[in-house]
Protein backbone atom coordinates (compact mmCIF):
# COMPACT_ATOMS: atom_id res chain seq x y z
CA UNK A 1 0.00 0.00 0.00
CA UNK A 2 1.05 3.60 -0.49
CA UNK A 3 0.13 7.04 0.74
CA UNK A 4 0.36 10.06 -1.57
CA UNK A 5 1.57 13.31 0.00
CA UNK A 6 2.55 16.40 -2.03
CA UNK A 7 3.08 14.23 -5.09
CA UNK A 8 5.39 11.83 -3.28
CA UNK A 9 4.50 8.24 -2.53
CA UNK A 10 5.12 6.69 0.90
CA UNK A 11 4.93 2.99 1.62
CA UNK A 12 2.56 2.01 4.44
CA UNK A 13 1.58 -1.41 5.83
CA UNK A 14 -1.91 -2.91 5.66
CA UNK A 15 -2.93 -1.02 8.81
CA UNK A 16 -1.62 2.30 7.51
CA UNK A 17 1.60 2.50 9.53
CA UNK A 18 4.51 4.14 7.73
CA UNK A 19 7.04 1.55 6.53
CA UNK A 20 10.11 3.75 6.88
CA UNK A 21 10.07 6.04 9.89
CA UNK A 22 12.85 8.21 8.47
CA UNK A 23 10.49 9.37 5.73
CA UNK A 24 8.15 10.97 8.25
CA UNK A 25 7.49 14.69 8.34
CA UNK A 26 4.65 16.94 9.48
CA UNK A 27 2.82 16.74 6.15
CA UNK A 28 2.96 12.95 6.24
CA UNK A 29 1.52 13.03 9.78
CA UNK A 30 -1.32 15.23 8.54
CA UNK A 31 -2.03 12.88 5.64
CA UNK A 32 -1.95 9.81 7.90
CA UNK A 33 -4.49 11.54 10.14
CA UNK A 34 -6.61 12.61 7.18
CA UNK A 35 -6.86 8.99 6.04
CA UNK A 36 -8.65 8.34 9.39
CA UNK A 37 -10.76 11.52 8.96
CA UNK A 38 -8.88 13.06 11.89
CA UNK A 39 -7.43 16.54 12.13
CA UNK A 40 -4.28 17.29 14.14
CA UNK A 41 -4.45 20.09 16.70
CA UNK A 42 -1.70 21.42 18.99
CA UNK A 43 -2.88 18.97 21.65
CA UNK A 44 -2.36 16.08 19.24
CA UNK A 45 1.09 17.40 18.35
CA UNK A 46 2.16 17.47 22.00
CA UNK A 47 1.57 13.74 22.19
CA UNK A 48 3.02 12.98 18.75
CA UNK A 49 6.19 14.95 19.49
CA UNK A 50 6.52 13.23 22.84
CA UNK A 51 6.27 9.81 21.16
CA UNK A 52 8.94 10.68 18.59
CA UNK A 53 11.30 11.78 21.36
CA UNK A 54 10.57 8.65 23.38
CA UNK A 55 11.26 6.46 20.37
CA UNK A 56 14.48 8.32 19.61
CA UNK A 57 15.69 7.76 23.18
CA UNK A 58 14.56 4.17 23.81
CA UNK A 59 13.97 2.71 20.31
CA UNK A 60 10.47 1.59 21.25
CA UNK A 61 7.01 3.09 21.28
CA UNK A 62 5.78 3.12 24.89
CA UNK A 63 2.84 1.02 26.07
CA UNK A 64 -0.28 3.06 26.77
CA UNK A 65 0.17 2.84 30.54
CA UNK A 66 3.72 4.17 30.26
CA UNK A 67 2.60 6.87 27.82
CA UNK A 68 -0.18 8.05 30.15
CA UNK A 69 2.16 8.29 33.12
CA UNK A 70 4.87 10.08 31.16
CA UNK A 71 2.45 12.57 29.58
CA UNK A 72 1.11 13.38 33.05
CA UNK A 73 4.59 14.08 34.26
CA UNK A 74 5.59 16.12 31.23
CA UNK A 75 2.40 18.02 30.35
CA UNK A 76 0.51 18.08 33.63
CA UNK A 77 -1.89 15.84 35.52
CA UNK A 78 -4.98 17.02 33.61
CA UNK A 79 -3.48 15.49 30.45
CA UNK A 80 -1.98 12.36 32.00
CA UNK A 81 -5.15 10.29 32.06
CA UNK A 82 -6.78 7.92 29.61
CA UNK A 83 -9.93 10.05 29.23
CA UNK A 84 -7.97 13.00 27.85
CA UNK A 85 -5.82 10.81 25.61
CA UNK A 86 -8.77 8.80 24.30
CA UNK A 87 -10.59 12.03 23.42
CA UNK A 88 -7.62 13.02 21.28
CA UNK A 89 -7.03 9.55 19.87
CA UNK A 90 -10.29 7.59 20.01
CA UNK A 91 -8.77 4.51 18.31
CA UNK A 92 -6.41 4.06 21.26
CA UNK A 93 -3.82 6.68 22.24
CA UNK A 94 -0.69 4.60 21.76
CA UNK A 95 -1.86 2.88 18.59
CA UNK A 96 -3.28 5.89 16.80
CA UNK A 97 -0.75 8.49 17.96
CA UNK A 98 2.14 6.21 16.99
CA UNK A 99 0.66 5.85 13.53
CA UNK A 100 0.61 9.63 12.98
CA UNK A 101 4.08 9.88 14.52
CA UNK A 102 5.33 7.46 11.84
CA UNK A 103 6.36 4.88 14.45
CA UNK A 104 5.72 1.16 14.46
CA UNK A 105 2.80 -0.13 16.48
CA UNK A 106 3.70 -0.25 20.20
CA UNK A 107 5.21 -3.50 21.44
CA UNK A 108 2.47 -5.67 22.84
CA UNK A 109 -0.25 -3.97 20.87
CA UNK A 110 -2.28 -6.39 18.75
Amino acid sequence: MALEVNGKSYEVDEEGYLANLNEWDKDVAGALAASDDAELTDSHWEVINFLREYYEEYQIAPAVRVLTKAIGKRLGKEKGNSKYLYELFPYGPAKQACKYAGLPKPTGCV
Binding site: E57, Y58, Q59, I60, P62, A63, R65, V66, K69, A70, K73, T107, G108
Partner: protein, 135 residues
Amino acid sequence: MSVTKKFTYINRKAPYGTVYALESLEVVLIGAAFEQEVQLVFVDDGVYQLTKGQDAAGIGMKSFSKTYAALGDYDVNQIYVCEQSLADRGLTIDDLQALTYEDEDDDWAEKSSMNLVNREQLSDLISNADVLLNF
Protein backbone atom coordinates in the same frame (compact mmCIF):
# COMPACT_ATOMS: atom_id res chain seq x y z
CA MET B 1 -6.24 -6.91 41.88
CA SER B 2 -5.71 -10.61 41.65
CA VAL B 3 -2.76 -12.57 43.00
CA THR B 4 0.63 -11.19 42.05
CA LYS B 5 3.25 -13.70 41.02
CA LYS B 6 6.98 -13.33 40.92
CA PHE B 7 8.19 -13.63 37.32
CA THR B 8 11.92 -14.23 37.02
CA TYR B 9 13.56 -13.98 33.60
CA ILE B 10 17.00 -15.55 33.25
CA ASN B 11 19.08 -14.04 30.44
CA ARG B 12 22.06 -16.19 29.52
CA LYS B 13 23.04 -15.31 25.96
CA ALA B 14 24.96 -12.53 24.20
CA PRO B 15 22.72 -9.79 22.73
CA TYR B 16 23.32 -10.60 19.06
CA GLY B 17 23.85 -13.80 17.10
CA THR B 18 20.66 -15.34 18.42
CA VAL B 19 17.28 -13.76 18.95
CA TYR B 20 17.01 -14.76 22.63
CA ALA B 21 18.01 -11.43 24.17
CA LEU B 22 15.62 -9.36 22.05
CA GLU B 23 12.79 -11.85 22.52
CA SER B 24 13.30 -11.83 26.27
CA LEU B 25 13.21 -8.02 26.37
CA GLU B 26 10.01 -7.94 24.32
CA VAL B 27 8.32 -10.54 26.52
CA VAL B 28 9.31 -8.53 29.60
CA LEU B 29 7.89 -5.30 28.14
CA ILE B 30 4.67 -6.96 27.04
CA GLY B 31 4.36 -8.88 30.32
CA ALA B 32 4.82 -5.66 32.30
CA ALA B 33 1.25 -4.72 31.33
CA PHE B 34 -0.01 -7.46 33.66
CA GLU B 35 1.48 -5.71 36.71
CA GLN B 36 3.22 -8.72 38.18
CA GLU B 37 6.44 -8.66 40.17
CA VAL B 38 9.26 -8.90 37.66
CA GLN B 39 12.92 -9.74 38.18
CA LEU B 40 15.54 -9.86 35.46
CA VAL B 41 18.66 -11.93 35.96
CA PHE B 42 21.72 -11.56 33.73
CA VAL B 43 24.16 -14.46 33.93
CA ASP B 44 26.87 -16.07 31.75
CA ASP B 45 27.10 -14.29 28.34
CA GLY B 46 23.82 -12.60 29.24
CA VAL B 47 25.80 -9.92 31.08
CA TYR B 48 26.89 -8.62 27.64
CA GLN B 49 23.28 -7.56 26.99
CA LEU B 50 23.74 -4.63 29.37
CA THR B 51 27.20 -3.46 28.28
CA LYS B 52 27.55 0.21 27.35
CA GLY B 53 28.40 1.56 23.92
CA GLN B 54 26.81 -1.10 21.73
CA ASP B 55 26.61 -0.47 18.01
CA ALA B 56 24.97 -3.15 15.88
CA ALA B 57 25.19 -1.25 12.57
CA GLY B 58 28.12 -3.37 11.38
CA ILE B 59 26.07 -6.56 11.51
CA GLY B 60 23.04 -4.94 9.91
CA MET B 61 20.83 -5.20 12.98
CA LYS B 62 18.86 -2.67 14.95
CA SER B 63 20.53 -2.10 18.30
CA PHE B 64 18.03 -2.54 21.09
CA SER B 65 20.54 -1.61 23.77
CA LYS B 66 18.81 1.72 24.48
CA THR B 67 15.53 -0.03 25.17
CA TYR B 68 16.81 -1.47 28.47
CA ALA B 69 16.78 2.08 29.85
CA ALA B 70 12.97 2.12 29.37
CA LEU B 71 12.49 -0.80 31.79
CA GLY B 72 12.15 1.60 34.73
CA ASP B 73 9.16 3.25 33.03
CA TYR B 74 7.55 -0.19 32.86
CA ASP B 75 8.04 -0.70 36.62
CA VAL B 76 10.72 -3.30 35.99
CA ASN B 77 13.31 -2.25 38.54
CA GLN B 78 14.77 -5.45 39.95
CA ILE B 79 17.80 -6.19 37.81
CA TYR B 80 20.26 -8.81 39.07
CA VAL B 81 23.69 -9.30 37.51
CA CYS B 82 25.89 -12.27 38.35
CA GLU B 83 29.21 -10.89 39.62
CA GLN B 84 31.07 -14.13 38.82
CA SER B 85 29.91 -13.97 35.19
CA LEU B 86 31.17 -10.38 34.96
CA ALA B 87 34.53 -11.28 36.51
CA ASP B 88 34.97 -14.30 34.18
CA ARG B 89 34.63 -11.93 31.22
CA GLY B 90 36.91 -9.21 32.59
CA LEU B 91 33.97 -6.89 33.15
CA THR B 92 32.80 -4.86 36.12
CA ILE B 93 29.48 -3.24 36.92
CA ASP B 94 30.92 0.02 35.50
CA ASP B 95 30.97 -1.56 32.04
CA LEU B 96 27.19 -1.93 32.20
CA GLN B 97 24.42 0.61 31.70
CA ALA B 98 23.33 2.06 35.03
CA LEU B 99 19.62 1.28 34.84
CA THR B 100 17.38 3.36 37.07
CA TYR B 101 13.73 3.89 37.92
CA GLU B 102 11.72 6.69 39.48
CA ASP B 103 10.13 5.77 42.79
CA GLU B 104 6.51 6.88 42.69
CA ASP B 105 6.21 6.49 46.48
CA ASP B 106 9.24 8.68 47.13
CA ASP B 107 8.44 11.83 45.11
CA TRP B 108 9.79 10.27 41.89
CA ALA B 109 13.32 10.06 43.24
CA GLU B 110 15.66 8.34 40.77
CA LYS B 111 16.96 5.06 42.16
CA SER B 112 19.22 2.34 40.85
CA SER B 113 17.68 -0.88 39.55
CA MET B 114 21.02 -2.69 39.45
CA ASN B 115 22.00 -5.40 41.93
CA LEU B 116 25.16 -7.49 41.87
CA VAL B 117 24.58 -11.03 43.10
CA ASN B 118 26.80 -14.01 43.89
CA ARG B 119 26.05 -17.64 43.03
CA GLU B 120 24.28 -18.24 46.33
CA GLN B 121 21.98 -15.22 45.96
CA LEU B 122 21.34 -16.34 42.40
CA SER B 123 20.09 -19.75 43.55
CA ASP B 124 17.81 -18.02 46.06
CA LEU B 125 16.36 -15.82 43.31
CA ILE B 126 15.68 -18.88 41.20
CA SER B 127 14.16 -20.95 44.00
CA ASN B 128 11.91 -18.06 45.10
CA ALA B 129 10.46 -17.46 41.64
CA ASP B 130 6.84 -18.41 40.96
CA VAL B 131 7.40 -18.35 37.22
CA LEU B 132 10.83 -18.91 35.72
CA LEU B 133 11.55 -18.02 32.09
CA ASN B 134 14.87 -18.94 30.52
CA PHE B 135 16.30 -17.12 27.53
